[in-house]
Symmetry: D2
Subunit: 283 residues, 4 copies
């Protein structure tokens, strides 16, 4: 596969696109897709994602990366090139409710999730059979808030062993420590079962029912150390009415959670998401 | 017009529907539409809305209402009959942004709002011309939090003079006193420019932008003395992305506000809403 | 389970609700939910669905059904009582694409589909493993238009053997004969991968792409002998844009198909659908 | 205003973006936004829209346009530069139902439609007062299919007199001749009150009601000589159910028509739409 993605973030100024596109052209790369965004044309932050194809990309890699350095320095860029053939290793964390895990497994089976599901970690045995039947390693690690650190030691060991790039919390009902989160900055995606910032924290469907809302939602976001306050990647909602009790809302919500999380994971895997301050740019 | 609507709330028990429908049948009423809801089949609250037609309804009114008393007492009902020909008088309060007012005027002109728009009260002159050109009285009453009581004295006077049944806050940016709210319980409809309970209070679009949400919303609700905490009638949302700044969100949001408020007002006018505790049943 | 559902269709006239609700009350039935609809208050068709609970329903059944006959005759009713404990037997027909089958299996596993999935019939082997792993019988019956009748003979035999009440065509890409369809009137649910009546027939996603539509959809309907012209039960759509080719539309569409079919099947199983002429009333 | 938009269409090949962005950079233009799309990375058609700012744009115009010619020739480009300060002149055609006209007038009044509404032409007098009260010329030209040519002669005269760039058919219920359409290729936007290609032609709501659909829609498209077959710009839908008759669908549909048409017109005015074959690319 000769395809790659250029992700660049720098202060806006004239000439960036000209410099980058000239660079790519001189290295025989053909631009397949390109998206850019400027916070503010007068001195704001500039973001660009360029997907390109380049013959013999494998041989070119180190050359490309070395030769780009002077351009990057001139424009004061943060940048990386992601190679499509470097399939990312993904770990899925799940607790007792398997619907989000199932959706990811399904998308993966259909070839819609360009990742290697390296392992599944759970504090319940519920999903073992389903996961192992697909040939994916399943690890049962009991967890609760008193043994958080021991649990994370084991988890980190596994994540290193499997060289995990991305952790997906597919309804994993445990809070992670700041150390753990810091170690995987912008690489842990969570699904929260409410339309954030409404109903942060526990039991959002029950609270939505108590409040009498007419729509419920789900939010996927990168995990930070502020509970449910990380950069939002995607949200969606569904209608409810007075006939729907907390249990009905949960059912309706689960199908929203499934699709919202799957979209967020897919975008991350396609290197479409740039985090800036506490927000995401999704190209 | 020989059409009316029966609204009943009582503890659930067998025989309610049989009793009410027998009563209507014996008074030559034909049931045109009927909706019911039970909080909990085992002793929960029961709600029913029956729309019926009855020949010579005008003459029958007092007879119907008198004769229903024993049934109401037997089942311990809260009830009322609303007559379609009793067009409700509506006051619209607005501040500087006229989009919600405009939507209501428009629906009213097209014959979609079965109400008499008795008057418009504003703390700005912005909308005067538009309102008066439709032959609707417009009252300019400057307002701010220091003169709240004097303002409300004038407003109440006008509301009495025009025998107002329903007050619609079409983006009226002043807080009402508990006395005022108490006087019009479940008869003041507000539009809040966020997806409640997210972004209660001031500047929701700005805060939505700061938070980086991917959807914004609007909520119409009955006003209570807890700011933005009253019974929710209707909500809707629209998509935004990283390209939309606070100003863009406001534009997108305004069209959501318009339709969400118009729907809530229409449902109220059609006697479709029953308030129970802090929630609405919308039939 | 002491719960049942009354489904009635008759010419509208005063007294129907009174008569039915009195009847239920006299048999100690408590009405849990009730929905009604009149085509036209002046002599149109009247429809009602009443969900009720009745102690010792099992013993009461024949008594209820016998005693209701005079009322039914008086009002010229078509009626039936469906008992919740009589779980329906469902057959799923599928061809090569398993996404709709999978959704149904999943909902069924989660306890959200109140049916017995009696068997799966396919003209491909693709889904065998998945189906059998859940303990559901799988029958491979190769099919094409030249052997339609032989195929249907085998299918009918199986459907009789398993006493099937409902057939779900979960992307079964074969046309059924009028005899077969006539035998299961309003008991075959199909999912068509377009927003009907747009793109009737083959290859709707490809044609949607050619036409340059900005939204694609899916439609579930009862099967009649006019291809894709049967009574529509449910529809939904999703956005596409110029970046989406036929293959992308197919991916986006599959997730719409899944949820649209699952909703239609659920409503059928809950006896919420009344077919009238070529339309559905969904209560 | 120093802002302009570059619209380019050419066969895809390496170096296009490099050449264009270098050109802009050398003329001191800062790229504010850029969107591109390739039909097919291997020799497909390539499309790009670049929004840029350039100091002293007014003085630069002819220089820019002249100097770009060699680049355009090298890559075999169709191209144009649209200057934001050249406000487009828009004519609105309307018949008896004013809701779409009203929406456009409203957006225009709020400053959301960057156009000069030069005139309104109608075959009914309905909208005269409303239009003239905003200071916009209103022309009543009775029309029917027998006098089509005479009518269009008058219309063309007015369109020339007002130097009209864009014609919006805001529910104008007359068919235009091929001569007229040919004269304004891709510059006539129509709103059709169905989800095309469903219900092409007359009375779509009535036909939607007859078919028993569960959703209705609206479609805005450029007018071609095939009725309702032109390139689709935008579509949207709304839910209906068995309670909604043809009249209700019309009401629900009108609010969809309003927003779908307004979006299409806005995108056209912002030079976001490129027509290719019978499809649109909307950047």
């Amino acid at each position: 596969e000769n395809r790659a993605r250029f992700l660049i973030k720098c202060p806006d100024q004239p000439g960036i696109v000209a410099a980058v596109s000239k660079f790519l052209y001189e290295h025989n790369a053909n631009i397949v897709a390109s998206d850019q965004f400027t916070m503010n044309p007068e001195g704001g932050e500039f973001f660009i994602r360029i997907e390109f194809e380049c013959p013999d990309l494998k041989e070119q890699v180190s050359k490309l990366e070395t030769r780009f350095v002077p351009i990057a320095e001139k424009f004061n860029m943060e940048w990386k090139i992601m190679y499509v053939r470097d399939i990312k290793n993904m770990a899925i964390f799940v607790s007792n409710e398997p619907h989000c895990l199932l959706e990811l497994l399904w998308e993966w089976q259909s070839g819609d999730l360009m990742a290697n599901i390296a392992l599944v970690i759970s504090n319940h045995e519920t999903a073992r059979e389903m996961v192992e039947s697909l040939g994916i390693p399943f690890y049962y690690i009991p967890a609760n808030k008193d043994i958080r650190h021991q649990v994370e030691v084991k988890q980190k060991q596994l994540l290193e062993q499997y060289e995990v790039d991305l952790i997906v919390l597919a309804r994993y009902m445990q809070i992670l420590t700041p150390e753990f989160v810091g170690h995987f900055e912008n690489r842990i995606i969570n699904i929260h079962h409410s339309f954030l910032p409404a109903f942060i924290g526990a039991k959002p469907y029950e609270r939505a029912y108590q409040r009498g809302v007419k729509m419920i939602g789900a939010t996927s976001h990168y995990v930070t150390n502020d509970l449910d306050e990380g950069p939002i990647i995607e949200q969606n909602i569904g209608r409810v009415d007075h006939r729907d009790n907390g249990e009905d809302m949960k059912k309706i919500g689960q199908s929203i959670e499934r699709s919202v999380l799957a979209r967020a994971v897919k975008w991350h895997l396609e290197d479409r998401i740039i985090v800036y301050k506490n927000k995401t740019i999704v190209f």
